[in-house]
């Protein structure tokens, strides 16, 4: 508003400057009352004409174009949003299937591992049982052999002792006393 007031001040200055010219020419043409009726009539005519042209033709046309553009923009935005939602959904399904596949793979691996572990365990226990049976058999065989050997030793020892005695005294030894002596000696050792 300040600029408006500033502009009014030179306006009145200029009137003072133009005063002599006004006196010579019979005053400002703006103050000539005889022109007022024609000015008023033509102003009203032209202003109403412009108002009619603006309100019926120009403004609706511009408004239409602006609205159309806004609609187009809104439409495109809606479309873009829709596409984005679709893309999001696709990404979601992709991720879901990916995680599903991963879980499936883990399951399969775990199953295989469990199966292999069970099999190994079974095999091991089977082998252990087999081995322990074999060990037992071997042990019983060894024990049997030991018993055989021990009984063999006694006869051999009796024979050797009898032969030694016969050689020493030049007469056959009493078999019963030799065998009882050997068996008692063997008994003392064990």
């Amino acid at each position: 508003m300040r600029i408006v007031k500033k502009a009014i001040i030179p306006a009145f200055g200029i009137f003072a400057f133009a005063a002599p010219a006004m006196a010579a020419g019979g005053g400002l043409p703006q103050l000539d009352l005889s022109t007022y009726s024609s000015q008023a009539i033509w102003l009203v005519i032209s202003f109403i004409a412009l108002y009619a042209l603006m309100s019926t033709i120009a403004l609706p046309r511009i408004g239409e174009v602006l609205e159309e553009r806004q609609n187009r923009i809104d439409d495109n935005l809606a479309k873009a949003e829709n596409l984005k939602a679709q893309a999001d959904a696709a990404v979601e399904t992709y991720e879901k299937s990916l995680s599903d596949a991963r879980a499936k793979a883990f399951d399969a691996i775990r199953e295989v591992k469990e199966k292999a572990g069970a099999e190994a365990h079974e095999r091991q226990s089977k082998l252990t049982a087999e081995l322990s049976a074999k060990i037992k058999q071997a042990e019983s065989e060894i024990a049997k052999a030991k018993i055989d050997a021990l009984s063999g030793i006694e006869t051999v020892a009796v024979d050797v002792a009898a032969a030694a005695i016969a050689k020493l005294i030049n007469e056959p030894a009493n078999e019963n006393s030799v065998s009882s002596a050997v068996s008692s000696a063997l008994k003392n050792r064990t």
């Binding site: 408006v4 200029i14 133009a18 010579a24 412009l50 108002y51």
Partner: protein, 241 residues
């Protein structure tokens, strides 16, 4: 030296008499019709393409539309939409009248007090009618400022009424005085160019070049001021304070 106020002379072109009323078609009338034609041509031709992506001319047309729509929205609010065609017409009429007046040898219709006064009175009476239609008798409470002690009301109410009644005068004189003063100044300085000769004449010529630029600013600014004040008056009538 040429008479600096000769440019404002109204010259009759076709004598018309409507039952004793002088309706002579003058150079002023011709420029009024030219203003109407220019505004219409500008908007109609630039919007002819109805392009989705506007070109330069269409951008200007849309810009003027959105400029006034924004002005009305900011100053009056959503109730102002109904007055959009009127305010737009007012702005374009004054703007084009001011701009056409800057053409050499042309006539500036807004440099005539009767023209600006009628425009201001249309706004003044229109705004008052809008206010009364909207608020009835309550509209006159506009002259009673709120939050003022009772003692000063006898002083304040006449002041408010006088300031309200002086609106059309300030509105019309502002536009008329600005246009008249600017054109007289340009003419005065132009009148010095030839008499001061080939050496001295450059100084007023340079001043005139600056003045022309300044006058374009004033031409736009005064159209804008007239429109903004109309919007503010509308706001007062619709919202009361």
């Amino acid at each position: 030296m040429a008479n600096p106020i000769e440019q404002f002379t109204v010259r009759p072109l076709i004598e018309i008499n409507l039952g004793g009323l002088d309706a002579t078609f003058t150079n002023a009338s011709a420029f009024m019709l030219l203003t109407v034609a220019s505004v219409t041509m500008f908007l109609a031709l630039s919007m002819r393409g109805r392009a989705l992506v506007p070109g330069r001319w269409q951008s200007m047309a849309e810009l003027s539309y959105e400029f006034i729509a924004g002005l009305l929205r900011d100053n009056v609010g959503s109730e102002g939409r109904r007055f959009f065609p009127f305010v737009f017409t007012l702005f374009m009429f004054i703007l084009f009248a001011n701009m056409l007046g800057l053409m050499p040898y042309s006539f500036t219709i807004t440099s005539h007090i009767i023209v600006t006064f009628i425009l201001a009175m249309v706004v003044f009476i229109g705004v008052t009618i809008v206010g009364i239609l909207r608020h009835g008798v309550k509209f006159f409470s506009y002259f009673v400022p709120s939050g003022v002690p009772m003692a000063v009301l006898p002083l304040m109410i006449p002041i408010e009424i006088i300031s309200y009644l002086s609106r059309p005068i300030s509105l019309s004189v502002r536009l008329f005085a600005n246009m008249t003063a600017g054109h007289i100044m340009m003419k005065v300085f132009a009148g010095f160019v030839i008499p001061l000769g080939i050496f001295g004449g450059w100084a007023p010529f340079g001043v005139d070049v600056l003045l022309v630029g300044f006058e374009f600013l004033v031409a736009f600014l005064q159209a804008y001021v007239f429109t903004v004040l109309t919007c503010l008056y509308l706001h007062d009538a619709i919202h009361l304070h």
